[in-house]
Amino acid sequence: MTKRKTPMLDELEKGSWPSFVSDMKQEAEAREKTDVDLQTPRECVDDLLGLLELTYVDKVVHWKHGGIVGVFGYGGGVIGRYCDQPEEFPGVRDFHTMRVNQPSSKFYSSEYLRQVCELWERRGSGLTNMHGSTGDIILLGTTTPQLEEVFWELTHNLDQDLGGSGSNLRTPSCCIGKARCEFACYDTQAICTEFTMEYQDELHRPAFPYKFKFKFDGCPNGCVAAIARADMSIIGAWRDDIRIDQEAVNAYVGGEIKPNGGAHSGRDWGAFDIQKEVVDLCPTECMSWDGKKLGIYNKECNRCMHCINVMPRALRIGEDTGASILFGAKAPILEGAQMSTLTIPFMKIEEPYEELKDIVEKVWDYWSEEGKNRERLGELIQREGFQKFLEVCELDADPRMIQEPRSNPYIFWKEEDVPGGWERDINEFRKKHQK
């Protein structure tokens, strides 16, 4: 049993969901008994429970915000947290979080996971978060003197680096991609790893007005939600036609193959209705079904993935694959939440990714020059306009970048865009226009 009474937290153990309170109690108990040579306070998890209970009672946070903590040479990867009730809860006087750069697509050996857990039990709180919203492994809670120790062991024994935090490039993250998924339009792991290595300086040291995230989705299904969570979203796409196997389409219609890979088996939804469940749900209305043959007018298809998700054995992504590049997603901080905006409709994604890196650097230079403190790229684009952003990227406007025809009737021309410019010869003018 844990030392502290936590009646309010105990409520969170009721019900059918797994409870983080139960997890914390389990770890607190394990720490009481363990004969591991603990380098952090044995009672830290107990104290964490107590402090959280107090937080619920007081309805105020008892953590101070941030601090000067980190490992030598790095300006990211450590998130400093100090408790404001250190006398009562000495175990969490300093309780810093470390972000550990996950491997692309989060493939681990069980040996590696054991090593991380062993290290964090000994030199941390034993509490982890696999994985944080950033994608990293989150090691929750250690003391200031342990930071360098953990870092040394991570880098020397586990061949493992810290991830990004603060005004740095954040740890790039990608979907499982070609490792397991037939929808992957490019190798998300390869480019995620390459970008992580290429931009090590930006990842480990503050470089920008605020955070910057790359996320790589292999297709528009968006398993890492790049469109909502990344300043630069790289989302797989193809530019030729969806491949159709008409025989397999008919097998779906005839009930021989279960739609959606059999996912909706929780209740009886009746026979598969291709018209209702696929054709009528196509957002661009570019599909047809005549009872025998499925048709797709690919020019209109916006690669929403719906039809392919429903009938993966019959429909496959095209063969001329690459990605669409979008910029500017963010959570609400200075301004409201925002999704990324389509900026490059299609680009081949092939090593060494020079074309993409070129754009990255142009965008970073622009944002570093023009961005205000704590202004995300998406907010800067909003403030200065998408037209300006296209100029910075040296891209031409394209109808695919807009969702609907303009609702703003004013066009602001630049002199260089107007044949002949603004200047006129007054004598020529006077020949035609009297004073």
């Binding site: 915000h65 503050p206 970073w364 570093s368």
Partner: protein, 80 residues
Amino acid sequence: MGPEEDRQLIVDTLKKKKGKTKFYLKDFNKIFPDRKPREVKKLVNKMVTEGILEYWSSGSTTLIGLKGAGKQHDTEEKDE
């Protein structure tokens, strides 16, 4: 200006700011208006490694100040 003068200019500028010990990266750009932010960033990060400056981080934002100046933990500006 040579690298030593650059360092001195940064230190002097920060010392002059009364009541404020932590600065955004952009504040350093203002010290060198003619340089690329990327160059300034490199110098500032180098000065941290050299122990002249230090980082302060909330977790989401990073500020930079003279080593040892101001609060070591918690924010100085509560409105942040």
